[in-house]
Amino acid sequence: MDFNDNPKEAEFRSQVREFLDQNAQKRSEVSLTGSSAGAPETVSGEDAAKEALKKAKEWQKKKAEAGLAAILWPKEFGGYGGTPIEQVIYQQEEHNYFVHSGYFEIGIGMLGPTMMVWGKDEDKKRYLPKMLNGEEIWCQLFSEPSAGSDLAGIRMKAEKDGSDWILNGQKVWTSGAHFADFGMIVARSDPSAVKHKGLTYFFLDMKTPGIEVRPIKQISGSANFNEVFFNNVRVPDTQRLGEEGDGWKVSLTTLMNERLAVGDPPGLDFDQIFDLTKEVEVEDGPAIKNSEVRQKIADWYVQSRGLQYTKYRSITALSKGQTPGPELSISKLVTASKMQDVSSYALDLMDMNGYVLDDKNPVMNNLFQNGLFFSTALRIAGGTDEVLRNIIAERVLGLPQDERMDKKVAFKDLPSGKN
């Protein structure tokens, strides 16, 4: 057991540090009270969002030029060709700097790898470099109004028309569709087949006629997700990934990579509330001197570090050639609730001022006020708490699957509550 870098890792770390030092500002040197943005989830206001996107693209370009934009991608597509451990090292180091990120993870982490497995060479050449350097942003069009937790229950119609497909239907919860240039989509090409068999997977230009993106205003007031309507949207068959009817199989490539792609969630964790406790006063002085406060935040420390070390265990397994299992599902399950609890408790510590959410009078950049709302989305997006518990129970612990009636019946004959 060795927690230290081996010589190769140490060399990579110093290379990363040098790059970051030259190109970014240390987090500790940035005032949290100013108006500044990190991940898109923490940005509120339209102008701020545009500014953040612009800065994120600039930052991504710099990373790409330095060969550090996608540590795990092979070199031929502009990646670093690195190991999962090098990916972690990069994330650890970047975490110490204040940079704009959060726009490219879906593309680089999930959709790029899907294209690498299922795409044609000319497509890889055309799309992957620009996905990598941030020039083109990609979104993932999976969820639908009637297909959330039950993802394979999608109803988006894909009908063959000569050498094209015509798409009709609606997607929802699409992160970043409002600024994405391209998307990957899974649609139902054969409703008479059973649920998982009748799907086909495509990629498409988000400017294709017939696509309408409507941002969904969340309880936070910001809009990170969208509804995307498809009205006779024409997609050439050359943009199909995988065989007709194999859409679920292709989707699994995307979803498997999701577990690896999900990096450390936006900064709202033990470290932030630890900082806050040093700043705010409670009834008997600084919050950090109050024993109830100390007891409470200790729990979040062990959750937070426990997750971090679990990730290191998984990466170690990965580096020994084992595949990371569904045990990584615990990460979001713990993180989301922790964020909600931390946010709520932080507001309590601020006392009456805790309910102020005002850009002109922010407390720690309104991090906790925004977290109070964003955490509700995090507990649902990408697998609800309940779906994740089912995944752990069934795939990790081997407990019986829920009884399902959708495995043998043709999709069109399944009850939907609407017919």
């Binding site: 426990g306 070390y309 265990r313 170690t316 045990e327 518990r389 752990i392």
Partner: protein
């Protein structure tokens, strides 16, 4: 980075698991639990000692195997899984570590070889009753080479040949007046009486010291510091025991939920139970990962040890408590019977959650060490 045990250490784990499955089934645990005259399983202790486990982390020059703390972590996890009713932790994680780190050459030569061979058993006595032990509330004294006072509870006090005792060497009690001494239990000035506890498979005693002969361990007045160091080390080892026990509690809950039918199906097919077991799994994984980090800090003598140890202990206490209580819940009515084994884990979980300080104390340790680290 290589955040895992080595192949050799995994081999040791497999051997230890196999050995304990064979030599320490539940009848062995119950033989101590159900017999108030029995302080530990002597047969098992002899077997364990013969295997050399007691000498795992004791240097070869003092009769040990000279392996590292990681190997001891591996064994701790297996002892925790099997609920082994032996004084291993008192003798090895505490007494041996005290002597190894702070003893004089003579003391090491006197105690370590016999501790390593298992023929001598040692323990540590700090608490003197209710409340959190601190230098200012330790009333035992060591003056003119005589030890006086009363200690309770002292884990494995009845079977210990020697005890490291925390006592004040100065009537003006403060952080610099607490010292450690080694006292032989077989002498007129030492009276030991059994205490009944929530986990009779790990017996404890009350020790009364009246002008007992004792010798100083380490520097006079540095007792508190030494205790913190040893407790940090022991916290990691205990965390492995706790993780091991919690894992078996989950395994048994799962097994039962697959055997037991209600409403026409296995109860393990109900989401209410599936989700409960998923939560057990999550807490155990977090605890295991925190324990691994503690193991790394322990084995590499890292400055991180105080934080890593506290993190490991807080997380392990939470996981074992949750797993052991929900194991009972999943078993339903039979879960709280004497006949079923669920209570063995429930008892042990709480015993281990208190033996070197409660979770309150360790959360406080964690945050104060994080504050110190921040200042540095």
């Amino acid at each position: 980075m290589n955040f895992d045990f080595s192949d050799d250490q995994k081999l040791l784990r497999d051997q230890a698991r196999k050995f304990l499955t064979d030599k320490c089934d539940r009848t062995v645990v119950r033989s101590v639990l159900e017999d108030s005259q029995k302080n530990h399983s002597d047969d098992l202790w002899k077997e364990i000692s013969t295997m050399g486990w007691t000498g795992t982390a004791i240097p070869e020059e003092y009769g040990g195997l000279g392996l590292g703390m990681l190997e001891l972590c591996v064994i701790a996890e297996e002892l925790g899984r099997s609920l082994a009713p032996t004084p291993f932790s008192s003798s090895i994680y505490l007494f041996a570590e005290f002597v190894k780190l702070f003893g004089t050459e003579d003391q090491k030569k006197t105690y370590l070889p016999k501790i390593a061979s298992g023929e001598m058993i040692g323990t540590f006595a700090l608490s003197e009753g209710n409340g959190t032990p601190k230098p200012h509330n330790i009333n035992s004294t060591f003056t003119d080479c005589k030890l006086n006072g009363q200690k309770l509870p002292v884990n494995d006090g009845q079977v210990s040949d020697f005890i490291v005792v925390a006592a004040n060497t100065d009537s003006n009690k403060n952080n610099n007046s607490l010292s450690l001494v080694i006292v032989k239990s077989n002498q007129d000035g030492v009276k030991s009486e059994s205490l009944e506890t929530i986990d009779p498979s790990r017996p404890s005693s009350k020790i009364v010291l009246s002008n007992a002969d004792a010798e100083l361990l380490g520097n006079s007045g540095e007792g508190w510091e030494m205790i913190q160091k040893i407790f940090d080390r022991a916290a990691v080892l205990f965390a492995f025991e706790q993780v091991g026990g919690a894992q078996v509690a989950l395994d048994e809950a799962k097994k039962y939920s697959l055997e037991r039918y209600a409403f026409g199906k296995q109860i393990g097919a109900f989401q209410a139970l599936k989700h409960k077991m998923a939560d057990m799994y999550v807490k155990i994984e977090l605890a295991k990962s925190n324990a691994y980090y503690g193991a790394w800090a322990l084995s590499s003598d890292s400055n991180e040890l105080p934080v890593a140890a506290a993190g490991a202990r807080v997380s392990a206490i939470d996981a074992y408590h949750y797993a052991s209580k929900e194991n009972i819940q999943i078993h339903g009515g039979v879960g709280f019977t004497w006949e079923y084994d669920c209570h063995l884990f429930y008892r042990r979980a709480k015993q281990l959650a208190l033996n070197i300080g409660s979770v309150r104390q360790w959360k406080e340790n964690l945050i104060s060490n994080l504050e110190k680290r921040n200042i540095v």
